[in-house]
């Protein structure tokens, strides 16, 4: 059901399963919130992701064994079925086109899809946030439809423009800032995801839902998109 291991002198990691799935990430997100509420005075940080939840805590106040015991008590006494999910759907406009989708042409020819078909497949799905990491506010979204999955590039690009939307295997993501990376770039969002606006840090949360909304070039430019 779950398995707690030490992660450092002041952190533990709880494993809830060994394969990513919508049900599991919902469960992890639920227990993450529950423990954050119940143990607010002793928890320093939480990192939920895919199959696990890392918790660091104030070792001045509690030792590892007691921490494990308290966490276990809450996990056993609270059932996820008793609450409803409160996360809202976030919409992200994306301009899908060869001029911003650096790998789109190759992906379409490999998958034998038209641009319209590809856009319909990528944008028709609601994605779940499975993890946040790599860089701040970089959300790993899943799962990508089988028909448009593609492995990472053999070697990462040095510079991917901020707002670029990529696919790597069964996941998709938006690059919040200019960075290097190996995902297949299929389009770009005109939104500002950078931490120049501090509110952007908390745009995504593990367990949240995202949908991509296709926009044309005029809309992309009108929303502040850069070419």
């Amino acid at each position: 059901m779950f398995n707690i291991k030490s992660a450092s002198e002041n952190s533990i990691i709880i494993y809830f399963g060994d394969q990513m799935s919508p049900a599991l990430i919902e469960k992890i997100s639920f227990y993450c919130q529950l423990l954050t509420d119940k143990l607010a005075d002793i928890i320093i940080d939480v990192v939920p992701s895919y199959t696990s939840l890392l918790i660091s805590y104030r070792l001045n106040l509690i030792n590892q064994q007691d921490m494990c015991d308290r966490v276990e008590k809450y996990l056993l006494s609270h059932d996820i079925d008793t609450v409803e999910s409160s996360s809202k759907l976030i919409e992200i406009p994306v301009y899908y086109d060869f001029e911003v989708g650096l790998d789109l042409e190759e992906l379409l020819s490999e998958k034998q899809l038209s641009l319209e078909e590809f856009i319909a497949i990528h944008s028709s799905k609601e994605y779940l946030v499975y993890a946040i990491g790599f860089s701040p506010a970089f959300a790993f979204l899943g799962e990508v439809d089988q028909r448009i999955r593609k492995n990472r590039l053999p070697s990462p690009r040095i510079q991917i423009p901020a707002g670029s939307v990529g696919i790597a295997d069964n996941q998709t993501a938006v690059y919040p800032i200019n960075s290097s990376g190996g995902w297949n770039i299929i389009g770009r969002s005109p939104l500002d995801f950078s931490l120049d606006n501090p509110d952007n840090l908390k745009r995504f949360a593990v367990g949240g839902s995202i949908r991509f909304v296709p926009i044309d070039k005029d809309k992309y430019l009108a929303l502040g998109g850069i070419l």
């Binding site: 030490s6 940080d45 895919y50 199959t51 696990s52 946040i132």
Partner: protein
């Protein structure tokens, strides 16, 4: 009231105890690389444990004081001088407007810490003054920067660290490792290779992580599902070599981890140079917690 940066040096960063509570959004812990030297600097000035200091890596740094203030310099011996005269480390010094502070080259250790009374009052990002270049939060010093502080205090007495606490940054370092994460999934013969060798610190060593060279742990597990990273986690790459993840590391990672280095040993690692030797030995969690708790109590860390 401020200090003027004449020469920024190789890599000089404003850091505090770190950035906490936002790891779930992907923000690193960040903060000083050597908590031991950092905590002593603030302690001697009677500062808060979280006050921001300047972390000077390798030297090449020159500053001019623009108003009287009490300072402490701790950590590496980078040839610290005031107005061309060698100065003691690990003790309070009262400096005056116009004084010229310089750090030349690394004689022993890697990182020196300059603390001022009351701490540097640079801009906070997400509740911390720590810079993290990987995250593009804050920036390294550049020539002409001004580091401000509140100079309200009068001259302080010359508090100094007792000499028996003086660290020796030249010793080969034994890193105490807690058996965490995937420790149990490594085979005994792999652990034998890991614990029975002297590793060499490679050139891939910065505030994000420290890659070690040595004999490979053969047949290491391939990448796994990414999970939360703790400060000091020791990842084993698919080639079988350890990477110790440090303050600026990403919050999640996908290599199996053989354990986690005790935090106070990471402070010692922060003063070791490329080419230095390190080895690992096991430590139990209770001992680590007791030692860290003692440290926290002594320095007033909440």
């Amino acid at each position: 009231m401020s200090i003027n940066v004449i020469k920024s040096g190789f890599l000089s960063l404003v850091e505090d105890y770190g950035r906490f509570g936002l790891a779930q959004y992907g923000l690193s812990q960040s903060g000083v690389a050597d908590e031991h030297a950092y905590c002593w600097a603030n302690h001697l000035l009677d500062n808060d444990f979280n006050d921001a200091v300047l972390e000077i890596t390798f030297g090449g740094c020159e500053l001019t004081v623009l108003s009287d203030i009490s300072i402490v310099v701790t950590g590496a011996d980078l040839g610290f001088k005031i107005n061309d005269k060698i100065q003691p480390l690990w003790q309070v010094i009262n400096v005056s407007s116009g004084d010229n502070l310089t750090w030349s080259v690394a004689k022993s250790g890697v990182r020196a810490y300059l603390a001022v009374k009351g701490g540097f009052q640079t801009t906070e990002f997400f509740n911390s003054r720590s810079s993290n270049l990987r995250e593009q939060i804050g920036a390294k010093l550049i020539d002409g920067d001004l580091l401000s502080y509140d100079s309200t205090s009068s001259e302080m007495t010359h508090h100094a660290m007792p000499s028996h606490f003086f660290p020796n940054y030249e010793q080969d370092l034994i890193l105490r490792l807690l058996p965490t994460y995937q420790f149990d999934q490594f085979e005994q013969h792999q652990k034998d290779v890991f614990f029975n060798q002297d590793y060499t610190i490679s050139s891939a060593y910065d505030r994000t992580g420290c890659r070690l060279e040595g004999q490979s742990i053969k047949d290491s597990q391939s990448k796994m599902i990414s999970e939360g990273i703790s400060y000091g986690s020791v990842e084993i790459t698919t080639e079988g070599f350890p990477i110790i993840l440090l303050k600026d590391s990403p919050t999640i990672g996908g290599y199996p981890k053989i354990g986690t280095v005790f935090s106070l040993d990471l402070a010692k690692l922060a003063q070791r140079q490329i080419g230095n030797k390190v080895s690992f030995e096991l430590m139990d969690i209770e001992t680590a917690q007791q030692k860290r708790r003692d440290f926290n109590v002594f320095f007033g860390i909440q």
